[in-house]
Symmetry: C2
Subunit: 385 residues, 2 copies
């Protein structure tokens, strides 16, 4: 089979697997995204081996995640987010501090030295906004108070995670930490986010005409897509997650008159590309590395720690809302998704993790991602707003 | 800059360059696609060097081409194509025979030995349906008699080009030609096309319900996209161009009740992905290899031969329609596009072409692709149907 045919066949398999997985999940009353991740695990190297992770697939998955968060941003209003600013910050900070502390303590107790233990702890921290955002979108509750807190906290979470990663990789290299450099990184990231979130939305609010070029009916769409790709690249350039840039781009465009048209036009694009993100996430897991009692025990401990620390940390941050909303916010922040996998890959490259430890972290990221959506769904279904 | 940021920045640059190129072209009364290809040439390695051709970009370009031909297929009815079957076959056959003969004669006269001369001739043959299809789509004339002949002839052309390529690579390897194998390849390809074009459309005509799943409003779209990816992979597996499979998938889906909804949903997807195809096509050209009088002379001769042979061959095939429609069909078949580039790459890998000869063939493919759209536009504008 030619290389071209192989790649196209891979795309076909991933796309169909995602549809089947989502369909099966929905019949089992689970969110579709759980089925898509599970489908990725099945067609990936661990089980059927029909799909190998390659660079083109990674890029497609990235584009899928970027477009997903862009569409979530499109359903988010800055004013709504501002109202929850204080509480979202609290959720973000507590939700980073507790998992990092518990992760470091566990890693230290398991025999890692301090720099490596901090690296392990960093993989406990980062929340993947993508998974939760998709579930909230599927259930149509993105405008709820808790949803807005989750999205706001995810932005704070990402800034802190990026700083922590800078910190632990600095320690890892043995070069120590340069506080000036870290402050600069922080200032850049916060500056970027504030500039886009406040300045960008203000600008967009007064320039709906900008999106309406006279010649081409697709122009508002293409301009928005260009903005989305540009801000995603800018975020990645500053060391933030690309999806944070895409989310901000969506929020800026949400202030224009064309938001509803754009939401409708974005739906088919997302239907084609977003499944690649979830299937590739699932395909990353290596089950064979987990086939020992020791590895499974580690996985269990790590997963429980990751879930409990995030749940308690974020829940504490949102406690002023009452127990139930706090629980909802906590659960919403549980999925580590692709962010955990990316940090684990860095750790593997740096020689901090063995293959087994890498597989454990990836499996933990996957488990937290698969676990949270059904819980979210139950919590949201039981008490509709 | 991180690898991730670099890739996203590349996507951003390509997407914006395509929009700017299309806009400028349209102000110059040229088809948008010419501007997109030129933009690719400008941001590519030859001029600014902002975009390097990488495997992920190649895959995105391929997906773009596949979706473009799928959307063209969606605007094509089998019954319309059947009516022009005889004449399209004639156009396809003459349009392959004459360029191949002239190309072989020129290559032989330029000092290539017979197997290599035939390989060079093969790069003269293949038509890229994508370029012309896009222009016809932009002008809204896909249902015209000449457009249908061009699309039908492009399918025939692709079968013959595939056979020729099998022939010349067989000769190249020195292994001689196995007529049984070639016949088998022919039978497979023709069988696939007839099966999908006739069987698939018949099936679809009676199963619009199939596309309307009860749970998900996107299901007709996702089912169609799955069919598109699947048939593109199958075509590539059989040695045909993937875009032929996508075109057939579009034709099959065109027989369902949902065709108009799907056309609308496909437009934003195409707006995002199709530009990658044209920009990457343009970025493939290496101007520095052409910076000698000899190379430029060769380019001029090769381009004139390629244009004249295709124009005369296809025009002769469509002569029964009268001079003007025959000219239109001939011009529509002129662009070599990515097909010429793919064959040239094979020739370079096989050691048949020097770097300069490779650059000449790529530049010829590009020139024919940039030349035909404005001519098509003038011919179609002057005598509206």
């Amino acid at each position: 089979m030619s290389h071209e045919a192989g790649i196209l066949l891979g795309l076909f398999v991933i796309f169909v697997a995602a549809q089947l997985g989502a369909e099966i999940a929905q019949r089992l009353k689970l969110p579709g995204v759980v089925g898509e991740i599970a489908a990725g695990c099945v067609v990936g190297p661990s089980v059927l081996g029909w799909v190998q992770i390659s660079e083109p697939l990674g890029v497609l998955a990235e584009i899928g995640a970027v477009l997903l968060l862009f569409s979530v941003g499109l359903e988010t209003r800055l004013d709504d987010l501002k109202k929850v600013g204080r509480i979202a910050t609290l959720v973000g900070v507590c939700g980073v501090a507790l998992p990092f502390a518990l992760g470091a303590a566990w890693a230290k107790a398991s025999g890692f030295d301090t720099p490596n233990a901090l690296f392990v702890a960093a993989t406990f921290v980062a929340t993947s906004a993508g998974i939760t955002a998709r579930v909230l979108q599927e259930l149509g509750v993105l405008t709820r108070l808790e949803s807005r807190i989750i999205m706001g906290a995810a932005v704070i979470d990402d800034i802190l995670a990026m700083l922590l990663l800078g910190l632990v990789t600095g320690l890892q290299g043995g070069g120590g930490i340069d506080p000036v450099h870290l402050l600069l990184v922080l200032a850049q990231a916060v500056g970027f986010i504030v500039l886009i979130a406040v300045g960008g939305t203000q600008l967009m609010r007064h320039s709906s005409e900008l999106l309406e070029a006279p010649v081409n009916p697709l122009s508002p769409l293409t301009l928005s897509l260009a903005l989305c790709l540009g801000l995603a690249a800018a975020a990645a350039y500053l060391g933030l997650a690309a999806i944070i840039g895409a989310f901000l781009a969506g929020m800026a465009v949400a202030e224009t008159r064309q938001r509803h048209v754009l939401e409708r036009q974005l739906r088919p694009i997302a239907a084609l590309l977003v499944p690649f993100f979830f299937v590739v996430t699932g395909a990353n897991v290596r089950l064979s590395e987990l086939a020992s009692l020791e590895a499974l025990t580690t996985l269990l401990v790590v997963t429980v720690l990751a879930v409990v620390s995030k749940l308690v940390g974020c829940g504490a941050g949102a406690w002023s809302l009452g127990a139930r909303p706090a629980l909802l916010v906590g659960v919403g922040m549980v999925p580590r998704g692709e962010v955990g996998i990316i940090i684990a890959s860095l750790g593997k490259e740096a020689g901090v993790f063995t293959d087994t430890m890498y597989a454990v972290i990836v499996a933990m990221s996957l488990l937290t991602s698969v676990m949270a959506p059904p819980m979210l769904r139950v919590l949201l279904r039981e008490r509709p707003s």
